[in-house]
């Protein structure tokens, strides 16, 4: 693998990215190499087909949603900085960071991780997880294991548990609240990205 500095020089606005995402330059270089490896046609950007070509990812039950999260605004091209910005969500939270009062939360803060997960449910981006959206995700995750009946019951129960303002949908606040006791950092971090 090439030396870090040479790889870094190929990355446009590397410093800015490092600043914004909190990755180290070594990580950034590694990610760039991965980006290039995925970009088989050397287009300089990634398309959904490149993602689908990763076979382990294709086996993931929610792979289309994950891909959708990367290509969020319907665009077909993912450049490196967007790639890295989204991956920054999965950095483990560093607890030693001093909180400057006015700076925005880092990308990998708990809230942003939760927002990322929320957006995987909420495909129509109305800020709520409706029953249908929940059903779709459940269906994807449970595949053929349960009947439609059970799926519906489970979806009902889920909404009932979380839905505090009784609008039959789960808003982000309710989502966050229902997960307040869960160690999100543990679930949504990739260790090597520390």
């Amino acid at each position: 693998m090439g030396s870090t500095s040479s790889t870094l020089s190929k990355i446009p606005n590397a410093d800015e990215l490092i600043q914004e995402t909190g990755f180290t330059s070594a990580h950034l270089a590694r990610l760039f190499e991965r980006f290039e490896a995925l970009d088989k046609d050397k287009k300089g950007y990634l398309s959904p087909q490149d993602f689908e070509a990763i076979k382990e990812l294709a086996l993931n039950p929610i792979c289309d949603r994950i891909i959708g999260a990367f290509f969020s605004s319907g665009q077909e091209m993912l450049d490196f900085s967007s790639f890295v910005r989204i991956l920054a969500h999965f950095r483990p939270i560093d607890n030693n960071r001093t909180k400057e009062p006015n700076s925005p939360d880092p990308i990998n803060s708990r809230i942003n991780k939760l927002k990322f997960a929320f957006q995987l449910y909420d495909q129509d981006k109305d800020g709520k997880i409706s029953r249908n959206e929940l059903l779709q995700v459940l269906r994807a995750m449970l595949e053929k294991q349960v009947t439609e009946e059970q799926l519906e019951s489970i979806a009902d129960r889920t909404i009932q548990e979380a839905d505090l303002d009784r609008d039959d949908a789960i808003s982000f606040e309710e989502f966050r609240k229902s997960l307040e006791k869960v160690n999100i950092d543990h679930k949504m971090s990739i260790r090597f990205l520390r």
Binding site: P92, L142, T147, Q150, I154, R157, K187, S189
Partner: protein, 820 residues
């Protein structure tokens, strides 16, 4: 319960088993039968029972009469003594809980050892010897497997596998570190002439060190559980103790062998290391194989449910024995066997077998452990000790130092690989919680006699055990509470949490794949996929892969159902039938009794029944007298449900706002075919006035004792209301059965109804089901269902945020239509 009154039973218990002890020991010590005929000893005497030989034919032709009472002790000696010992130890356990506060502050192992000490003192004073039953083979073949099986079977698998690296790291490397470190230090100490232990060579020191590095934090785990300590620490302590036993036994055998060699050279060391790995991995492999075979066998045990538990025990024990045969790590074998077996077996066997298995395993493990500790106490007093201040004190010192050091160093190395690193307090908890226990003692006691200083080792072992168990065991609870180690927030997770965490795990696995990395998420995913595709098909009888989400959902529903019953079970006579029906369905479901056909719909039906039974419970209790008025019973049900829920809530005497409402919300629904305006307007009294005449009628027919709806103090109303509930069962039972039959034949109907229902109106589903089961005018009933809910539907917790009249019914009736 005054203290005095609880002291009395303790004294009685103590005296009775002291007496029993003497009984058994006296019997043991007697070596020649006295040729007298006596009655079997009904009361114990100081000299033990006197027993006779069978009447000897005398040389003279004197007539010997048929003895009326004979005593033949040797015949029953062994089982008799074993039983007495076990009983004795169990009495001790009962005795502890007489004054229950003791067990909070003093771990049970301490108490057991104390009782053992007392009994030992008694025995010593009458110059008895403890029965020489604890030999090496008895321990390793009979007493150790239950203990290990118990720990392994009840290990929570998921957190374990998430932390398996850490666990193995701490147990294997940690034990090695401890043994070698302590051994070498002790060897160094031995060189000091002043202590007079120069004849202990390095091998023996290492052997001894390996014995005392076996950590057995049973007591500490109990404290951890009580204090609700964070999961990571708990699972690492648990796992470490388990695998640590395996490593210790392997090292013990290794060093034992080596200790007998006059000279040790490099080849031996190398072979030793190689053997270590071979033994460990071999044990694991063995365990896996046996685990799978056991799971496979249980696939076919549908017709022989009574002996299902037997397979589990036999297979694990067989794994253990075969591993012993081949001198590979039997503990690893039985542990891996239990871990692999558990997952598949619990799906194949019936509910009862599952319970039996768990209970028996727990029982055997407890008995075994109790006996060993008890024996420890006895032996402490009765054997001759060789006390050597220097050696023993240094042992304790080094053991503590090396353990603490080991934990710190190992944690530093492994923390970067963990997503939840251990902080300092965790490390302290882990190292301070390193009590020594049963295995240490047994290993020391069964040292071969070729070791010259065996007595010293035994004494030192007992000393360190007593030191750690008493001092550390008693003090760890206040220390942990003082230090405020991270606690866990675990409770039976909500469905939300389960689903969302699963989603997040998928996301993370996906992103990991994206980055071309693997970690335990993707491994876990891969394994689960493999598992579902191949393994489950082979090993599980009725392979309906059940996602954990669905399992959790069922569990929660069942729990809710039980809770509902709990609140009214005191007054409802028919509640048992409900529960039994429930459990039967539940157990049917969980044991996957395969039906010939209709598997899907049966499953659906059962699921419906499970989930709807809950709602039905309320229905049942409510709509009892509606047996003759079926077409309209739905409405009555509505009222009654609402009434019931308020009763439930008022029984709990909690505030009616906020969180509780979220739960009880579920059981509210809109009456069929009515909008919110009719009949359930905000004005309470209107309930009587408005609404259908049928409604009115039903109310009256429903409630045998008409109750004024206004202004009654809350609790008297509820209590009064409970009476009508009592009569409400049998019809609903009948309805249920009808419904059950119907439901299995009408999956389509159910799907339409359920797709329509909201979480807040499970009753609607019931109503919709009710109509088909009852009348033949099904299609309209359904259509009605489909139309009515959407327009007028904003059920609110009746008293959310509102004071309302004290009458629960009125309160509930205060739904605000279209409020949100």
């Amino acid at each position: 319960m005054g203290f005095l009154s609880s002291v009395k039973p303790v004294c009685i218990v103590l005296i009775s088993f002291a007496v029993l002890a003497l009984l058994s020991f006296g019997a043991n010590a007697e070596d020649s039968p006295k040729p007298t005929t006596t009655k079997p000893p009904a009361k114990p005497t100081e000299h033990g029972p006197i027993y006779t030989a069978p009447p000897q034919p005398l040389p003279e032709p004197e007539k010997s009469y048929l003895p009326l009472f004979t005593l033949n002790y040797p015949r029953v000696q062994i089982p008799f003594e074993i039983t007495l010992w076990v009983l004795l130890a169990s009495f001790a356990k009962i005795g502890f809980h007489v004054y229950h506060k003791i067990t909070i502050w003093v771990p049970e192992t301490c108490l057991l050892i104390s009782i053992g000490l007392i009994v030992g003192a008694i025995m010593h004073s009458v110059h008895e010897q403890p029965p020489a039953v604890l030999t090496s083979s008895v321990f390793f073949l009979y007493m150790l497997p239950p203990i290990v099986l118990d720990s392994a079977y009840f290990m929570p698998t998921q957190p374990f596998f998430e932390n398996v690296g850490t666990v193995l790291w701490f147990s294997i490397v940690g034990t090695l570190w401890n043994s070698i470190g302590v051994g070498i230090c002790l060897y160094g100490v031995c060189q000091i002439p002043a202590l007079g232990v120069q004849d202990i060579n390095l091998q023996e020191n290492l052997l001894f060190a390996s014995i005392i590095s076996a950590v057995d934090p049973v007591a500490v785990l109990a404290v951890f559980e009580d204090v609700n300590i964070n999961e990571q620490l708990y699972i690492v302590a648990f796992g470490e103790s388990l695998f640590n036993d395996a490593v210790t036994v392997v090292l013990y055998n290794l060093f034992n062998h080596v200790a007998e060699l006059p000279v040790v050279d490099a080849a031996d060391v190398f072979l030793g290391v190689l053997r270590f790995f071979l033994v460990g991995l071999g044990g694991m492999l063995f365990g896996l194989v046996f685990g799978f075979v056991a799971a496979f066998t249980t696939r076919f045990t549908r017709k022989v449910r009574e002996i299902e538990p037997l397979f589990i025990f036999m297979y694990s024990y067989l794994a253990y024995l075969l591993a012993e045969l081949l001198s590979i790590s039997s503990i690893m074998a039985i542990v891996t066997c239990a871990l692999t077996m558990k997952y598949y077996v619990e799906e194949n066997v019936s509910q009862r077998s599952c319970t039996t298995i768990r209970h028996v395993i727990k029982m055997l493990g407890t008995v075994s452990e109790t006996l060993i500790f008890f024996f420890l106490g006895v032996v402490t007093i009765t054997t001759d000790h060789e006390w050597n201040w220097g050696y023993i004190l240094f042992t304790i010192l080094f053991a503590q130092i090396w353990r603490g050091l080991g934990i710190v160093v190992l944690t530093q190395i492994i923390n970067p690989f963990r997503t939840i690193p251990f902080n300092f307090k965790d490390q302290f908890g882990l190292s301070y919680g390193g009590l020594r226990g049963a295995i240490t003692f047994a290993l020391a006691y069964t040292l071969p006699n070729t070791i010259i200083r065996k007595k010293l080792f035994i004494t030192a072992t007992i000393a360190i055990i007593i030191f750690t168990v008493f001092i550390q065991g008693i003090s760890i609870r206040p220390i942990i509470e003082l230090m405020n180690v991270r606690k866990t927030n675990w409770k039976l997770g909500t469905i939300n949490v389960e689903i969302h965490t699963r989603l997040m795990e998928h996301i993370t696995a996906g992103v990991e794949d994206l980055c071309g990395q693997w970690s335990h998420h993707s491994l876990k995913d891969k394994f689960m996929r493999f598992n579902n595709r191949f393994i489950r098909k082979i090993l599980i009888r009725d392979n309906r892969p059940e996602s954990s989400i669905v399992a959790l959902y069922k569990k929660l529903e069942l729990q809710n159902a039980m809770e509902v019953l709990d609140t009214i079970s005191g007054d409802i006579s028919a509640a048992p039938s409900l529960i039994s029906l429930h459990e039967e369905k539940a157990s049917n479901k969980s044991s996957f009794k395969p039906k010939r056909t209709f598997l899907a719909s049966d499953l659906t039906a059962m699921h419906e029944i499970l989930s709807k039974n809950m709602y039905k419970i309320r229905e049942r209790t409510m709509s009892y007298t509606n047996k003759h008025t079926l077409p309209n019973d739905s409405r009555a049900r509505e009222i009654l449900v609402r009434r019931h829920t308020s009763i439930r809530r008022s029984l709990r005497a909690r505030s009616f706002q906020g969180s509780e409402s979220a739960r009880s919300q579920k059981y509210f629904s809109l009456p069929l075919g009515q909008s919110l305006d009719t009949g359930y307007a905000t004005e309470s009294i209107r309930l009587n006035a408005d609404g259908d005449p049928a409604l009115e009628l039903h109310n009256r027919s429903v409630r045998p004792k008409p109750r004024p709806r206004s202004k009654q103090p809350r609790f008297s109303t509820t209590r009064a209301r409970l009476d009508p509930l009592q009569e409400l069962h049998s019809t609903v039972n009948m309805e249920d059965e009808v419904r059950a039959e119907e439901s299995s034949h009408r999956p389509s109907r159910q799907s339409s109804s359920s797709s329509n229902s909201r979480s807040r109106a499970p009753l609607q589903r019931h109503s919709s089901l009710g109509t088909p089961s009852v009348g033949e005018d099904d299609p309209e009933g359904d259509e009605q269902q489909l139309e009515s809910p959407p327009p007028a539907w904003t059920p609110e917790p009746p008293d959310r945020g509102s004071g309302g009249p004290r009458n629960p019914l009125l309160r509930r009736a205060q739904w605000k239509p279209q409020d949100k």
